[in-house]
Subunit: 139 residues, 3 copies
C-alpha cells in the first residue's frame, strides 16, 4: 500500500529531514527485512540521503547547488523556477532504502532529506514498503 | 521478464519522453500494485523524471548541463565524449517507479525522459515489473 | 539477507570498481531473475554506474566533479569535507541493478564504482538480492 508523508516547506530552498517519518511508516508495516521505496511526485524538489548530525552540511549542499545552478540565468521556461527543475534532475526524486530487524537501516550519520527548491509549498512524499521474501534463505 | 524499449535519438544532446512507452508495458503486465524498474545499459546517457508539460524545461536542463560540463575540456578520455560520461554519472541511469491501480503512478507534471548526451544513436531502455505482494495487507 | 562488501580506499578521491564483487554475491545467491540493490551507508562517498573499460573515464569524472565542487570554498561545515558531502549528494548512494540468467545484467561497457570523496578510509557497501516472482509470467 502506498503511504503519503506531507511536508510543508517554509523557504524557497530548504532541506527537511523526513527520516523519522519514514521510520515510523516502516515500524508500522511490521516488515522485518525488506525495502522501503521513497518517491516524490514533484518536478522542482529532490531527495538526498546525507548527514543529519551537523545542519551546516545541508546548508553547504543548498549553497553549492545555488552556485552551480543560479536562480536567474539564460532559461527558456517562463515560470522563473528553471533552477529548481535542474536541481531536482541532478539530485533525483526516488530512493530505495533497506529495512532490517524491523527498522530502517541507514548509515550512522545518514538522514533522508526532502529538498525543496521552489517553496514554500505543501508537498507529498510517497512510500512503498515491501517484504524481502528471500530474507530467510541462506545466500 | 525484462522488457526493452528502443529509443532512436536524432541529436547529440536530446531528451526523449518515454513515459507513454513505459505506461504501455505497465498496462500489459496487468500488475495492479507494484514497482516498475527502469535501467539504461549505456554510459553516455541518463534518465530523468521531470516536467513534460512545457518542453522549455527539458531544454533548460540540457543547456544547464552543457554549461556545467562543457564538451571540450581538460579530459583524458580520447573519444571526445567525456562530457557525456560525466552528465550520465550526474543524472544516473536507473529509476524505480510506482504502479497503483494498474497504472504508472507519477506526479501531475512528471514524465520520464531518456537523456541522450552522445547521439544520434540507437539506444535501449530495460524495464522490469514486479507485483507488490504486500499490496493487500493492512499497514 | 543483507551482504556487505568491504572497500579500502587509498586516496582522497578515488573510484573503486566493485562490479566483480557484486557479481560474485549475485552468483552465490542462485537467483536467476531478480534485482540486486546496492546501498552505501556513507555521506562522503557515492555510487556510479559508468564505463570501466578505459580508466581515463573515471579520472575525467573525478576531475570534473572537483572543478564543479572545489575542496576549499565558502562552506560552513567545519570538518573540511563539505565538497565530499556535496559530491555524494550529486551522485547518490543507492542503485538498483537487474539480474537475468543468474548473472548481474549490465550494459557492455558498464561497471559499478564505489566513489570515495574523503579517503583514505575503510568503507562498506550493502547488497540486498531479491528474486522476481513475476519472472515466469507471460507479460
Amino acid at each position: 500500500m502506498l503511504q503519503t508523508i506531507n511536508v510543508n516547506t517554509s523557504g524557497r530552498c530548504e532541506f527537511v529531514d523526513i527520516t523519522s517519518q519514514i521510520g515510523h511508516i516502516v515500524a508500522k508495516s511490521r516488515v522485518s527485512s525488506g525495502i522501503c521505496r521513497v518517491f516524490i511526485p514533484h518536478t522542482t524538489a529532490g531527495l538526498v540521503i546525507n548527514e543529519n548530525a551537523d545542519s551546516s552540511v545541508k546548508e553547504d549542499i543548498i549553497r553549492a547547488l545555488g552556485k552551480l545552478v543560479p536562480q536567474k540565468g539564460d532559461y527558456g521556461h517562463s515560470e522563473g523556477n528553471s533552477d529548481a527543475h535542474i536541481k531536482s534532475s541532478l539530485l533525483g526524486n526516488e530512493k530505495t532504502l533497506f529495512i532490517e530487524g524491523g527498522r530502517l537501516k541507514l548509515g550512522t550519520w545518514q538522514g533522508v532529506f526532502f529538498c525543496e527548491f521552489d517553496g514554500p509549498r505543501n508537498r507529498s512524499v510517497w512510500i512503498m514498503i515491501e517484504e524481502n521474501k528471500n530474507a530467510g534463505k541462506e545466500i
